[in-house]
Symmetry: C2
DNA sequence: ATGAAAGCGCTAACAT
DNA sequence: ATGTTAGCGCTTTCAT
């Protein structure tokens, strides 16, 4: 891209020293040269506007100061906050980030990861689309530094930062039934390989058993596939849920912010009032949740902190070398925020 | 990071050919070798799991297939959609992206841009924090390929993709007065160097003159500095606006989605009903805008397309070489969506 | 305090 | 159809 750029050679000639000395200068090893030389080099570099070629330095030194970041869906607010956490920490530590988005495709995930390794990234933070346990394990065995952000794989294999999904899912369901709701439905897009959705789903089933007979039929999956509990739209699912038992007090737990938004849209279209006709609670506390109706109750996730911490973990791992001890698993706390959408009057 | 990686040398030895032939193979120049050799190389590469070192290839070839992306605030939904557009196009064209966020700091912007150039990116897409006209012009003169996304600098210097801010600002103000509002206030965070805010502000003043005497005093800036029209919080500004003239029908134009959200929060806190006590209209149509109250009227911006197109522009520029013709300026269309927040009954 | 020389892993001009 | 050779721009021994 540069028409022609200044190299270390030109600088060394103009400053009348060897490339070695220039190299020492740009690496801050001033002990190896006289005050005078140092100053002369400084001036020449300034004059020529010399900037070392990072690519060339990397090739030789094997240090790229690059962290790869793989997110499953860059357009979701969750990812953008996660990314901010990651980038903030990395920048602060002198690392740059390469970002890719897999659109929930685990094959793309593999492709992007390999491609980043080819670029000599020093570590990779992954918000995984799933299904890549073996693939990632192999990479780690080969010396690739990996950290998982938000979405988990088997514990004790990778450094992982996530949130307390189990605990909060139990808590939110308990809270709903204790408030007096008699049926709590679980609404989600296709669970797929998404660990977060899978965990919330599993905990939903487990916890619901304390309160209802058959929790399976309270699950509503919105997606394209055939199968039981499977609907093609939020409206259909919502209609099915509300009509299947009109005499009980019903509430919905939405698997994430996107699902929650879709449910609110569907409810509005169907003229179903929240919380008068149905209660609603979800995950993700984005700026608007308190403004819709009497406010939507949510589990507020520490998205930024998950990003920040995962970056911290990976950079520490890089600094100390890969084998200093077993994987670290961090579970950050979410917060249950109760608003009007779950009040029974 | 890799414990030790396979190089072209090992492959060439194991395959009993020269490095050149391997190089030809990995660059797809199969015309230069026999079917037999080709197959032999294929097998060796597979066996050794050889992957070419991108860093080394870049150093020699001067092609990094990397696009730098600088956004002003990565945590804003606007940026994340913009980014998605950029990354989608780049990925599709075989480019990878390096992302940095300046937090609206033009000095950081400079730093990150230089650092990306040091990494030999082939082009840089910038959502500029402002104030870097001269800096960027100089870089472009030196051969750096630059495209601006959303925020503009002087026209006809850089490839630029933005939206029709002037037109839509006129249109939204016209629409408000035509609906019967008698005073339209303009609410914004500190304008700073943000071209989008500055343009909307300028157009607000211009257009408002058609309808009111002194449009200057209808501007409410929320920020830390001292100065006229300057408030420390949205609540104070809102209170000042509403109380300064209680007999007229008032409406607010919020400079962007974030400001809009803040105004709604403030109105709620102050028990000011939208639109009964005050009309509201903003920019950015994020999923929730139709769900708050009777819906918030907005100018919906083509954020994804701005990202996508700016990536297209820069990659075309890269492919054809820097000087093929004068800068391209693209203004994509926004859409005015009228909802309940601007109805006068 | 400074430099010469040998690479890092690859590409490409120029053989043959 | 294949190889030799000379780098890309830097870092890093090993000398002096």
């Amino acid at each position: 891209m540069q028409t022609k750029s200044v190299t270390i050679d030109e600088v060394s000639k103009k400053a009348n020293v060897s490339k070695t000395t220039i190299s020492r200068y740009i690496n801050g090893k001033f002990e190896y040269m006289s005050e005078e030389t140092r100053e002369r080099i400084r001036l020449v570099i300034e004059e020529l506007e010399y900037r070392p070629n990072t690519i060339a330095r990397n090739l030789k030194s094997k240090k790229s100061s690059l962290i790869g970041v793989i997110v499953a869906d860059i357009s979701s607010p969750f990812s953008s906050i996660l990314l901010k956490g990651i980038i903030d920490y990395c920048t602060q530590k002198g690392f740059q980030t390469m970002v890719a988005s897999t659109n929930e495709d685990y094959l793309k995930e593999r492709e992007y990861i390999l491609s980043m390794i080819d670029r000599q990234v020093e570590g990779i933070i992954i918000n995984t689309a799933g299904n890549n346990l073996e693939f990632l394990e192999n990479l780690q065995l080969k010396g690739v530094t990996i950290a998982l952000a938000d979405r988990v794989l088997e514990k004790n294999i990778f450094d992982t930062v996530t949130s307390d999904n189990e605990k909060m899912t139990y808590k939110v369901i308990e809270s709903l039934y204790e408030k007096g709701f008699e049926r709590v439905g679980f609404f989600s897009e296709t669970l797929g390989l998404n660990s977060t959705r899978l965990i919330r789903h599993k905990c939903f089933l487990q916890k619901s058993e304390q309160y209802v007979e058959n929790s399976e039929h309270l699950v509503y999956i919105i997606g394209d596939e055939e199968g039981k509990n499977n609907y093609t739209s939020y409206e259909k699912a919502l209609l099915s849920f509300t009509s299947s038992n009109e005499k009980t007090k019903n509430a919905i737990l939405a698997v994430n912010g996107v699902a929650m938004l879709n449910i609110i849209h569907a409810a509005k279209k169907l003229n179903i009032s929240i919380p008068n006709n149905i209660g609603l609670c979800g995950y993700d506390d984005w700026g608007w949740t308190s403004l819709i109706g009497t406010g939507i109750s949510v589990v507020s996730q520490p998205s930024y902190e998950i990003g920040f911490k995962s970056a911290e973990l990976i950079i520490k791992r890089i600094d100390k070398g890969i084998n200093y001890k077993s994987p670290i698993y961090l579970e950050l706390s979410s917060q249950l925020i109760i608003r009007g959408s779950t009040s029974l009057t």
